[in-house]
Assembly symmetry: C2
Homo-oligomer: 529 residues x 2
């Protein structure tokens, strides 16, 4: 019974053994481009299929797994992650890509073959440049850092987390240097989440956004609270029924997905025909479950709208995290907070919760759903202040990556920026720089995709409205198909066909432009507060 | 969009690609026995860990998966099954086993090392003898046969299933010939489920059992039905609550497992700390959910009682399917049908279902739970008639394997045996030879483990009672730990340490003996009917 002491030894052997399983190159000599392409696609599909098994393990861990299963699950995940990594870096890709690139098969850059070859080359190049030792060190450090972060946050003890954060940013520099970049190191990290986006462009977009949002937010500072009626009793079982019927009405296909409960809301696309939403409800906070639904539903509709025939290849995958986030933020904010939406859904909502809402008018309810109140916590932020939480994080992670800011100095810098941009000062690090899990997971360059999502969402919504007519009026009639089908036609079904700026330009007639977001917020929030 | 037509081609490429991933032998030369053993155990653990990912996919398919996820799930399962098979037949085992066998490390045959080496050798020898073409043909045929069986059963159309059954038995002969056997072909199949058991011994045990049960069953034939009160209204939500509290009282650890609902009851041990029970409830049949719980709970307690330190090796695995079934049948029949159990649980049951049970005495309820009525369907069978369903299947699968019986002749032979042994004649093949899924899945040699389980269960229960005192009295006090801990001590924690007959002999003082089952049934069912 050496469960404790021997574990390290056994695991070392274990992963030692696992590492030996290298694929044997078996690419035939003199393959033509078509044969090479088909083999490459088969490899890509197998890699995706194996990664989708890992997705199910992760979904189950959040939704179903009994508490004591956690150690075993960590071992299952480590094994599959290793096998997926082996496939991502399979040396056969090099030969196969060489046999296809430049051939007639990829002469049309918009063809599925050209897109798949372009994107497989892009990710293979990155994966192969990453030394296995760095991949393992990264996995080890972020795994411990997550545990440390959770503990530090619980105890409001930033000092115990700081050294880990310092180490994560040091490793992030190593990663950036390993994969290479043209402008700055941050470009290399950003590329994992928003391919093709540069730091320079992002600074441009986000600082512009910040400059225009700060005065808008300041104008709300003295608005008295008016969302009290969302914090009455909303029995959980009835919330779930309401949310399920709303999801179906908006176009979530229940034969190809499911709704569950978890600690953190998320959407997981296990594979074609299997897209799962998990939500967190609160019996005295209707907005928590409802906005989580609208957000995750946006992700789910994107996943359900990808072209199944291309599953397992870049053509069947989302364009970027920013575009994915544009879909969730679009349904959450432009639909779920709209007057048209509630003209349709408020009557059934009152039927479901008569005790809580019998003295609340549609107008008062809708104002409560759109209440603006600067606060220290990002996940509780309203639509107007949300992006300022992001621009603050963006500024800080740039400084941490460059070394201009040391991890030890983070709390002071954090609090100062909150005071300057949002007019609130966190009372402690729990509601300050310890609030988000992302950096402890090694997600650096990820936060900006939330704001990019908001930018794309406002622009896509405006374009959809120009194309199909006044959307709020169709929402008021309970019609969501016009918007959904427009998104499917212009965004979802294209997968990674075009780089993001081109996808946005083709869908909306112009490149990404933050003005739509600022205008939309200004127009919608100017009155009524 | 070639989802239909191209699929075959893509999949062929796909599995072609997957098959190339052969492990590269990396066993160091001149490894000593300890090093070889540790490497072998690491391989065994990785194989088990990967198989446990497949277990989760299967659990999820039964319990959670949305309907349209079925095709993707089939591809995930095929991929993982292939990777598991590659590991089972990993050529490194040959060298490693050779370096350990005969060494001082395995000189004590009861040591963990000796047991693991013995069992890894046994299964490796079998797996390696199976040609890959046969493994693939087996997977292909049983997969189609299952679909055909379901369709044939729905339409009560045995003729369409018969050719597939014929083919399955032909392939079973090939499998037996490939792995080899000493006595008859059936020995080779049996060995997959009950290692070491021979056809000769099994004929002996089961024909003896049949001879003694037929007259016992005949004596019940004219008993009037008395289980009407189990078919009143038992609201599902209250059944679930009752079953959950019963599971906890009996010792199921909810931090290390969970209870769910599925179409077919089953228990799945995903890994240490994660053992899951799935049940089927019926709102007007209390017995369905309750007996399913007691049965699967027996499996779960065995899985929760295995020694975690040996997880991933034979020492941490169940002794056999028959022994596993002994645990489920013991809790289902010797506990769940006992008077002591209901003296404790009937009052809370009446509290949970006052409408259904307010006019039912404990005695009348218990008699209903033990009602004996020969019928055509195995899964609905009472405890007394159950084994006759098994002996009939055993006789028929022996005849089908030898070729004495052709698949086309099965319905006649089936119905004749039911009439002869149980006094009932199925009205059609749906309630006759099409009722079970097993043969369509290729499970031949599996049915007898149910009766072996009953035989072992009665013998173990008697031994436990001799050791710890009258069990029904402890049940009546709500104490189930004495029985559970005795089983843990004498069965669970030993894993595959001994061949089954020796495990039974060490636990009970004598080798397997069906007399205990016949005596237990006779004693418990003699009165009161």
């Amino acid at each position: 019974m050496c469960a404790g002491a021997c574990k390290g030894v056994v695991l070392a052997l274990f992963y030692g053994a696992s590492r030996d399983l290298q694929p044997r190159p078996s690419v035939r000599k003199h393959m033509n481009a078509e044969q090479a392409y088909e083999t490459m696609i088969a490899l890509s599909r197998e890699e995706t299929l194996l990664a989708s098994c890992l997705d199910l393990l992760e979904w189950d861990e959040e939704v179903s797994m009994p508490r004591d299963g956690v150690e075993h699950r960590a071992e299952q995940r480590a094994l599959l992650a290793g096998l997926v990594h082996d496939r991502e870096t399979d040396p056969r890709y090099e030969e196969l890509l060489a046999a296809v690139e430049g051939s007639a098969l990829v002469s049309d850059p918009e063809s599925a073959a050209a897109v798949n070859v372009r994107e497989i080359r892009r990710s293979f190049k990155k994966e192969r440049r990453m030394p296995r030792a760095l991949v393992e060190e990264w996995a080890r450090v972020t795994s411990i850092a997550q545990q440390t972060w959770a503990e530090s946050r619980r105890n409001d003890d930033y000092a115990s987390f700081a050294p880990w954060l310092e180490q994560i940013f040091a490793l992030a520099r190593e990663r950036a240097d390993a994969v290479g970049y043209e402008g700055t190191r941050y470009d290399a990290l950003l590329d994992d989440f928003e391919p093709g986006m540069t730091t320079e462009r992002l600074v441009d977009v986000l600082s512009n956004l910040q400059q225009r949002l700060v005065p808008l937010v300041a104008s709300f500072r003295d608005t008295p609270a008016s969302s009290e009626m969302l914090e009455r009793d909303f029995p959980l079982e009835r919330q779930k029924l309401f949310v399920e019927s709303a999801a179906a009405a908006l176009g979530f296909d229940p034969r190809g997905g499911r709704l569950d409960v978890s600690q953190h809301p998320f959407c997981s696309a296990i594979g074609p025909g299997d897209v799962r939403i998990a939500l967190r409800y609160h019996p005295r906070d209707f907005g928590q479950g409802f906005f989580a639904l609208m957000h995750e539903l946006g992700h789910a509709l994107y996943d359900q709208g990808l072209d199944r025939a291309f599953y397992g290849t870049p053509m069947g995958d989302a364009a970027s995290l920013g575009v994915h986030e544009s879909q969730s933020r679009l349904w959450e904010n432009h639909v779920g907070r709209s007057e048209g939406f509630w003209r349709h859904f408020y009557p059934p909502l009152c039927d479901a919760f008569p005790e809580a809402l019998n003295d609340v008018s549609l107008d008062a309810f809708r104002r409560a759903m759109n209440h603006v109140a600067p606060g220290p916590i990002r996940v509780n932020a309203d639509e107007v202040t949300y992006d300022l939480h992001i621009t603050i994080r963006f500024e800080l992670e740039l400084a941490l990556l460059s070394g201009d800011l040391r991890a030890a100095e983070l709390p002071g810098a954090w609090n100062e920026l909150y005071e300057r941009h949002l007019g609130v000062r966190p009372r402690n690090d729990r509601e300050g720089c310890l609030q988000d899990i992302h950096w402890s997971e090694g997600l650096i360059g990820y936060f900006p995709t939330y704001s990019l999502g908001n930018v794309y969402a406002a622009q896509l919504f405006a374009a959809a409205e120009r194309a199909v007519g006044p959307l709020e009026e169709s929402f008021a009639r309970g019609e969501f198909a016009p918007l959904r089908e427009w998104l499917r036609e212009h965004v979802h079904r294209h997968g990674m066909r075009w780089p993001v700026p081109e996808l946005i330009a083709r869908a909306t007639g112009e490149g990404p432009d933050a003005s739509y977001l600022v205008e939309s917020l200004t127009r919608r929030y100017r009155d009524g507060h």
